[in-house]
Symmetry: C3
Subunit: 138 residues, 3 copies
């Protein structure tokens, strides 16, 4: 069995942003030498998501508006989690978008559909956060 | 390590529908010869989901109504993604229902609870779409 | 390849509750002897979730309120699934929180971020339910 483990670190300067991880994950699969296997990509922090969807800025704006409607940031007093913190909405939004993706590796490459693109969604940025990439296979 | 990779293709004639993948996945696990391992089933398109829930038509109707409430199709002008397209709601609904499922294989069979049933949820049909099944193990 | 398969059973006395699975999963990874691999933890019932988020009671209360807003239990007559049953909302809530988590194993331990904690979310308790832990690797 071949294995590759890598933590990526990034600091988003805003509270929220969508950041592509696609090129990094593609490169790590190549580096791993795995021909057939699975690639797990997950947020290591609980106020962020890893998800796969369209690389299109209009849609990313739509996600922002939609998630703010489903789990509003303000008023922060509506959440019990918000004592010393003000990020309860981030913990909620992350459940809608998900913690992780598992992607197949076939013939040494990520086995993706035509528009599948791997993203990180930061819901409470302005500090360093980590993403884990774990690849196993042969 | 044993591996099976298979793309399933289907064309849903309506915009939205829930389609069972259960029999196909059960058969592929058998075909793979894997006794112990993992089975990944994911939509390869970003306006569709693979999920596990009840094989009950009343519930499937409830999902339709519920998702339409959470992420309405109309008016399509409410979404920036909808320029040439009108399927922004499909990209949102798919995040609620999920991209993929990972199911254990034990003793040569999918290791499922009594009511777990694997489904595909099409949110923007009327064209061929693919689903990936990737099985790894021994 | 090393494999560990374990079904955990628990009965939540209320309709809904969040229960930690963290210690059990940590112990099973140790028991498996797997140094590098993947750990799948999934609800085997379709009215429950396994998810990773904060071990903080205020946030757990916020999830309760938030999910009840997104997919209310009452009036039960609003759902077609509710003929002999009254748990349609449980099938909906579980889709928001997810069926499963896949966690990397590195150096013989779960590879988790600082606040990641594995939980079971029961949406229709008062009867025995099972959770599956499947560990594969080397």
């Amino acid at each position: 069995m071949k294995v590759l483990t890598r933590e990526l670190t990034l600091t988003v300067p805003q509270r929220r942003a969508i950041v592509s991880l696609h090129r990094e994950v593609v490169d790590l699969v190549k580096e791993s030498g795995v021909q057939e296997g699975l690639c797990l990509v997950n947020a290591m922090h609980i106020t962020a998501s890893v998800f796969i969807n369209d690389d299109e800025s209009g849609l990313h704006h739509d996600y922002e508006v939609w998630l703010e409607g489903l789990a509003p940031h303000a008023p922060t007093s509506q959440y019990r989690h918000n004592g010393a913190e003000d990020n309860a909405d981030a913990h909620l939004k992350r459940q809608v978008m998900g913690r992780e993706v598992v992607v197949a590796i076939t013939g040494g490459r990520l086995h993706l559909g035509p528009w599948e693109h791997i993203f990180y969604y930061e819901f409470d940025g302005r500090r360093p956060k980590r993403i884990l990439v774990k690849i196993i296979g042969e």
